[in-house]
């Protein structure tokens, strides 16, 4: 028998717990915001010292005053952000181009090595990338001698390596393509479409949700990646955001937490906004794999 009182107590406890977790989630975020607003802030200030936008101006490249002298940041932080966005966007688009075609082949056609092929590809993709770093460096060095725009210190080279990671996306897309009835393509074929046209005009538009998910996951993964770019990208102009802000926490810059905090927020914002706008698709994409109808 559940009484009114018990019900109320339960609800109270429930909300207390939920709110407690909210605090735990938000406190680091608030800390970062407060640190970013404090000039010369260390990680222990908390809205209790004079607040100024100095750190933000430093990050955004706007000159500001310190004790009467005008200071600009010597680091092209905004350029780093732009680089990251550009590389991630290109990586998403290209990854989709290659994954959708391969997934279509796997979904629609029978050929040698189909069954175990994709499994083997996915497993091989899991090899820890540590040793691969050395290999990538030499490979891009080699390619760079013949095609300069795909060499070591370029975005093109970075993209090439990201595109090696297609198998997982192929698997997800294939699963989705399998649910599109073949009758649609057959009628298109009767009407005279070539396989390429069928692919472009029928399959792709119908797969929009999955394509969004794959594109987004690729974007987020490449934006956050810092190991590969830190090995490949050497010149400051070319660095992605993830690599660039490592400078702010290296030993020689200990204590520049204020600027790091502001940079963190600037870097986190695009991804967060992107994520919030499409989290519903990701949830349904992930859990549909789990429940399987």
């Amino acid at each position: 028998m559940i009484t009114q009182k018990r019900e109320q107590v339960y609800n109270l406890l429930r909300h207390l717990f939920l709110i407690f977790v909210v605090f735990v989630v938000l406190i680091p975020v608030l800390c970062i915001i407060s640190v970013s607003l404090t000039p010369n802030g260390t990680m222990s200030t908390f809205f209790n010292q004079k607040m100024a936008l100095d750190n933000w101006k430093y990050i955004l490249g706007i000159p500001y005053e310190v004790n009467g002298a005008v200071v600009t940041s010597p680091y092209p932080i905004m350029k780093w952000l732009f680089n990251s966005l550009k590389v991630s966007a290109l990586a998403s688009i290209l990854m989709l181009a290659f994954s959708t075609t391969a997934a279509y082949a796997l979904s629609r056609y029978e050929f040698v090595g189909k069954k175990s092929g994709i499994l083997i590809l996915m497993i091989l993709q899991m090899f820890p990338n540590m040793m691969a770093m050395v290999a990538f460096y030499f490979m891009l060095d080699f390619i760079g001698k013949y095609i300069p725009s795909l060499g070591v210190n370029t975005h093109g080279g970075l993209l090439l390596i990201y595109l090696g990671g297609t198998p997982f996306n192929i698997w997800m897309l294939k699963g989705y393509f399998d649910t599109i009835p073949k009758s649609l393509e057959e009628s298109a074929r009767i009407d005279g479409c070539s396989p390429l046209q069928t692919f472009l005009k029928i399959i792709l538009p119908l797969s929009a949700p999955m394509i969004t998910v794959v594109g987004l996951l690729t974007f987020i993964a490449t934006f956050s990646d810092f190991i590969l770019p830190s090995i490949l990208l050497k010149s400051q102009e070319n660095m992605t955001f993830a690599v660039g802000i490592q400078i702010f926490i290296s030993e020689s810059f200990a204590g520049r937490w204020g600027q790091f905090a502001a940079a963190s927020i600037v870097g986190a914002l695009p991804i967060s906004l992107l994520f919030f706008s499409v989290h519903r698709y990701i949830v349904s994409g992930l859990s549909s794999g789990a429940t399987k109808g």
């Binding site: 559940i2 429930r14 717990f17 977790v21 909210v22 989630v25 680091p28 975020v29 800390c31 260390t42 990680m43 222990s44 200030t45 908390f46 994954s99 075609t101 391969a102 082949a105 796997l106 056609y109 996915m122 497993i123 899991m126 090899f127 820890p128 990338n129 540590m130 040793m131 691969a132 050395v134 290999a135 080699f142 595109l163 090696g164 990671g165 297609t166 198998p167 192929i170 987020i220 956050s224 810092f226 190991i227 993830a242 802000i245 926490i249 937490w257 790091f260 905090a261 870097g267 986190a268 967060s272 994520f275 989290h279 949830v283 992930l286 859990s287 794999g289 789990a290 429940t291 399987k292």
Partner: protein, 450 residues
């Protein structure tokens, strides 16, 4: 070696390309080809290279190939006795190189002087230049700014290397990859094929074995606890929140997603700052309660707790989202029936909700386990592997998981970088991951058959 692999794969790719697009009719292969090209080049080749390296002894002191070492020995020059180096400047014009000394002719118009760095860059071209002095001596390259009378220290005779000064042959130590004269190493070392020696050492050598086992145990413990904690918190939140109305659910959900939406390298670095023993906000906050500062990242137990806590913060939103999705797909009628039968909340959860959630989540839980086994960023950025284990010579820390240990072996060794050992640990990690993935696949297949 990597270039050889690369060229071989180019040939294979070209051959496949011709076959796919010109020699056979099936369209399917043409769709598949681009992805395969990229996969071969950037996934397969590094793996083959990694396996190859694990079978050698590539490390600091043995970084060059045998051919390169021989070349270095044969071009090594020494000063002739009694000779003094004289100053020289090096110039280049249109691919031709010139030396200017007090003996030599003036350089042609428009020749550019090479700086010290340029000299090193163009070294192979400069080594053969000679200056004939009016005293009958011949000078050649000695340093970036001098020439001198030099002679080659070593020559090649009957496929062996001879030391010119005392006419003795160098002995090649094939096992360790170096050349010896009277037992002392001459010149740099080169890498040799060692077979499975690295793997055997991992399992036999006592200090290596201890290190390897310890980090293996912690790696599995870390992955298991991470999954357990994130799943527990995520499920609890999802179930508790399920009873509220739509608006409340949406607000809470947006807040709970925040840790997941911030790029994780940023969050981890933020926590690193917050957990700093002397300057971090957490200890500053505790100071208000007169609690002495806790060494979050420096103490062997606290460091482990810290990484788990941070991983919990980062990971629970994912579990929360997925379990929410699953809960939404459970038909409400089941709950109504349970309520009619008089089940309490706890009973409903234990016998209805939980089994349904678990069966749906098994593949994802295993996937999360596999992910955390290799979660380099979570460990490395926060503690760098953690406080170093004191009584062992090798660079391993309390919170090092296998993959962060591998990274440190390969790129950070203060006692030299050991790529071959790192490669062998990588291969072992890969075999474990492959096994786990296969098991995961089999389980998913079983479930869909039901």
């Amino acid at each position: 070696m990597i270039i050889t692999l690369f060229l071989i794969s180019f040939v294979i790719i070209a051959a496949l390309g011709i076959w796919t697009y010109f020699l056979q009719k099936q369209v399917s292969y043409r769709f598949f080809y681009p992805a395969i090209v990229l996969f071969i080049l950037f996934t397969l080749v590094p793996i083959v290279y990694g396996v190859y390296v694990s079978l050698t002894n590539l490390k600091t002191g043995n970084l060059l190939s045998r051919a390169e070492v021989i070349h270095i020995l044969l071009t090594d020059k020494a000063l002739k006795e009694g000779s003094e180096p004289i100053p020289a400047k090096y110039f280049m014009k249109e691919g031709q190189y010139f030396i200017e000394t007090k003996f030599s002719a003036a350089k042609p118009e428009g020749a550019v002087q090479l700086s010290a760095a340029d000299v090193i860059a163009h070294l192979p071209n400069l080594l053969d230049l000679k200056v004939s002095a009016n005293d009958g001596k011949t000078y050649s390259f000695f340093r970036t700014d001098t020439v001198a009378e030099t002679f080659n220290l070593f020559t090649l005779e009957n496929e062996k290397i001879k030391d010119v000064r005392n006419n003795r042959f160098l002995i090649e130590d094939k096992k360790n990859g170096r050349f010896l004269l009277d037992g002392a190493q001459v010149g740099p070392g080169f890498f040799t094929f060692k077979g499975f020696e690295n793997y055997i050492n991992l399992f036999n050598d006592s200090s290596l074995k201890k290190v390897f086992t310890q980090s293996l145990v912690w790696t599995f413990l870390w992955a298991f606890l991470s999954v357990l904690l994130t799943f527990s918190l995520g499920t609890t939140l999802a179930v508790l929140l399920n009873e509220s109305n739509k608006a409340t659910r949406l607000i809470y959900r947006i807040i709970y997603i925040i840790p997941y939406s911030i790029p994780f390298f940023i969050s981890v670095l933020v926590f690193k700052g917050l957990m700093n023993k002397d300057f971090g906000a957490i200890n500053a906050f505790l100071k208000l309660f007169k609690i002495s500062p806790i060494p979050w990242l420096d103490h062997k137990v606290w460091a482990k707790i810290s990484v788990l806590m941070v991983n919990l913060w980062l990971g629970f939103p994912y579990m929360f989202l997925v379990v929410t999705g699953i809960l939404q797909s459970i038909p409400k009628t089941i709950y109504e029936a349970a309520q009619l039968d008089g089940a309490t909340r706890l009973q409903t959860f234990r016998f209805l909700t939980f089994p349904l959630v678990i069966t749906a989540m098994v593949p994802l839980l295993i996937g999360s386990f596999a992910f955390n086994l290799n979660n380099f960023v979570g460990i490395y950025l926060l503690t760098g592997g953690g406080p170093v284990i004191a009584d062992i010579q090798l660079p391993i820390g309390e919170t090092d998981i296998l993959i962060s240990y591998t990274y440190r072996l390969a790129f950070e060794g203060s006692m030299g970088q050991n790529f071959s050992l790192a490669a062998s640990v990588s291969v072992l990690i890969f075999l474990m991951m492959a096994a786990i993935t296969l098991i995961n696949f089999k389980i998913s297949e079983q479930r869909t058959k039901r």
